[in-house]
Symmetry: C2
Subunit: 376 residues, 2 copies
DNA sequence: TGCGCACCTGATACCGGTACCACATTCCGT
DNA sequence: ACGGAATGTGGTACCGGTATCAGGTGCGCA
């Protein structure tokens, strides 16, 4: 046990206590070099006695490695990122790495600041769910790389950046979900959580551009929705996609608007948790019943979705796995980079993890399908 | 912009580039001491040119402060802790501090390891939601304090430890919720998420001991339940409290058991999110309707609770504020401790934040109250 | 007995900053 | 013209580790 002092003991004090030289104590405690069994024993006992703990900062200083990973996400309070961070944290800790988590509130400037903090703290690698939309706006990431810090992207790719990325196939997942709706004979399908553009565009192109220009995942999901529509030869109707602020309140308003249309949607595809709750509110207000009157599929499964009445069909993302995989790749790159600076790095790639469409009971045939089906 | 090299430039290189001495460069870049305007300009330009960034590790080495806070929670993927961490993170970043987050999976050994990591990394302060139940099992926390690291507890107090703690009044919140149920004429109220003890104890004492011996918050909430019962002179029935594994599945099983009782509960108080979803599953299976057949109040409000049918009455915890407050107190203590080691520290205290009972529609009078009320 | 070689230990020069202090200017008042 | 303050700069000793290397000891073998 250590004494009452509030300044932690150093290796020199251990050496003094054990009656050996500083370097001998350092060798035992650091686990390198040669020390005779008796001396080792003596040093260890002394260290124990005065409560010695290695100063990781000092060690990092001389070795040049910090055994710390930086993680940058939009919002740590979002359960999706919570899962990702936990996956990263568990995977890296088992390899002896700690994680410094920074949350950017989906703001690119804060992301740049976060990268700088991580550079300053000399982290060995960075995992980032970047808000950058293209290589041009991702120079901060290149900065980090130029300093020898390995970077891997998670959840969101940055088109044009040659970096490993661990993702789900947002486009395919969306397409699959919408296809499921079409299979159930829906032809009027609302898309909730669209691009935050002003006014109501009529051309698909404007919509896609708007989405892509705002958040990578949203763009992909919108594309998937469009893909599914195209697959089935359903004509696109701009009135059925939400535009504007990405808030639960606005989602509710937009869904209410869609529901009031002369030819309202019979199904809704929600790309996000708050989009789903907003939709649910609008549906309740309108007096419609889920499944019977309107079908629903959402992104990001949660325990609640399974217990509400009726239970909701949802797309499940492997959050923990996303994080764990990103950490593995990053740690691998760090190990590889140890030997050489411009190591024989494999080509960077997208690592796509599987999503799962968890079918429950919120999808049913529309009451009055405009196609061949007739009222139930 | 910096060159292609992957080793970051140091202050000496900036000095060379600017044609000044190392200390002069250090003084300009570090913002201390005296430098003439022209030289300052020259140094700044040189730094900019070669892309210099201060090595925070080296700085921490000489100054002894790391401007980093350690945060230890049970599970970063749990939305409750997600909110707390975000509160901490936002509050401390605005004061120039970064946060190192460690997640312990509710395991005391991992918590001890986490504390050691933070000691090794020389964090300036630690915020911990400890799994320790008393001072005896919290020696790792004392260790950190003995080394001059300030510690504040969040979410959970550790009886016997003289430390600041930022909490909600779990007992009062539970009591209030149960009182609300009693007001609605319920007398058979189930308690979901009890102590993980084996067998079915009949005495209150055993239950409380079991709960307290497992997790501080759970013990408090159970006490609050008991308080409310006592207030209203309702006899305690051990059959109405869940015991055993704290999982959604087991909660479901226990609620199913209660519902099958000859005199089943007419209301349920759930102390946790998974307890609530487990209960909801059991209720659905039994064919009962929420509110009409069985009333419900749960802990930890979420957007889902507001949108399901009927919307659920829930206790809302101020997660962000809990984290922010803890960070403020810790940062304050760090500032104060700067001057003197055994500073004129105010007495440590419990800082209790308000919870709110968000009344929605899951509480109604029982169909056939055994007291004065009669079937609706 | 002497030599070489394992075996073991302590000095010492880093890492990249901070901070103190000595020293060199310049400028001013007297 | 000279002492001394004001101003500005560079030298250098830390912080607490790591890592290399020189050197001391004791042993075996010729």
């Amino acid at each position: 046990m250590m004494s009452e002092r509030s300044v932690p003991p150093t290796i020199s004090e251990v050496a003094a206590e054990a009656g050996v030289g500083r370097s001998t104590a350092a060798r035992t405690l650091g686990g390198y070099g040669y020390v005779s069994p008796e001396v080792r024993e003596r040093v260890l006992a002394a260290a124990e006695r005065i409560g010695y703990r290695t100063n990781a900062l000092a060690r990092s200083m001389s070795t040049g490695v910090s055994h710390t990973l930086g993680v940058i996400v939009a919002d740590i309070a979002n359960p999706f990122f919570g899962g990702v961070v936990r996956g990263i944290s568990d995977a890296s800790r088992s390899r002896g790495f700690d994680t410094l988590v920074l949350s950017t509130h989906e703001d690119l400037d804060e992301e740049v600041a976060a990268i700088n903090v991580l550079i300053d703290k000399r982290v060995d690698g960075i995992i980032v769910a970047s808000a950058a939309l293209d290589a041009a706006s991702a120079s901060h990431i290149e900065q980090a790389r130029a300093r020898g810090i390995k970077v891997v992207l998670v959840d969101r790719a940055v088109p044009g950046l040659d970096l490993d990325a661990v993702l789900i196939d947002n486009r395919a997942a969306a397409r699959g979900a919408v296809a499921r709706l079409v299979d159930a004979r829906h032809r009027r399908i609302g898309f909730v959580w669209g691009p935050p553009i002003e006014g109501r565009p009529r051309r698909r192109r404007d919509l896609v551009d708007g989405a892509v220009r705002n958040l990578w995942t949203d763009g992909e999901r919108l594309q998937g929705y469009l893909d599914a529509l195209d697959d089935e030869g359903i004509v696109f109707d701009a009135d059925l996609v939400m535009v504007g602020a990405k808030t639960e309140e606005h989602a509710q308003a937009e869904v209410a608007r869609m529901l009031a249309l002369p030819d309202p949607p019979t199904a809704l595809f929600c790309t996000e948790n708050d989009a789903m709750t907003g939709s649910l509110r609008a549906i309740r207000e309108s007096g419609l019943r889920i499944a019977e009157d309107i079908s629903l599929i959402g992104f990001d499964d949660s325990s609640w979705a399974a217990v509400i009445e009726p239970p909701l069909t949802m797309i499940e993302q492997p959050t923990l796995a996303l994080g764990a995989k990103a950490a593995e790749i990053l740690l691998g790159a760090i190990d590889a980079g140890e030997g050489r600076s411009a190591a024989p790095r494999g080509p960077s790639a997208f690592h796509t993890l599987e999503t799962r469409l968890v079918e429950r009971a919120s999808v049913r045939r529309p009451r009055a399908a405009d196609g061949s089906a007739r009222r139930g």
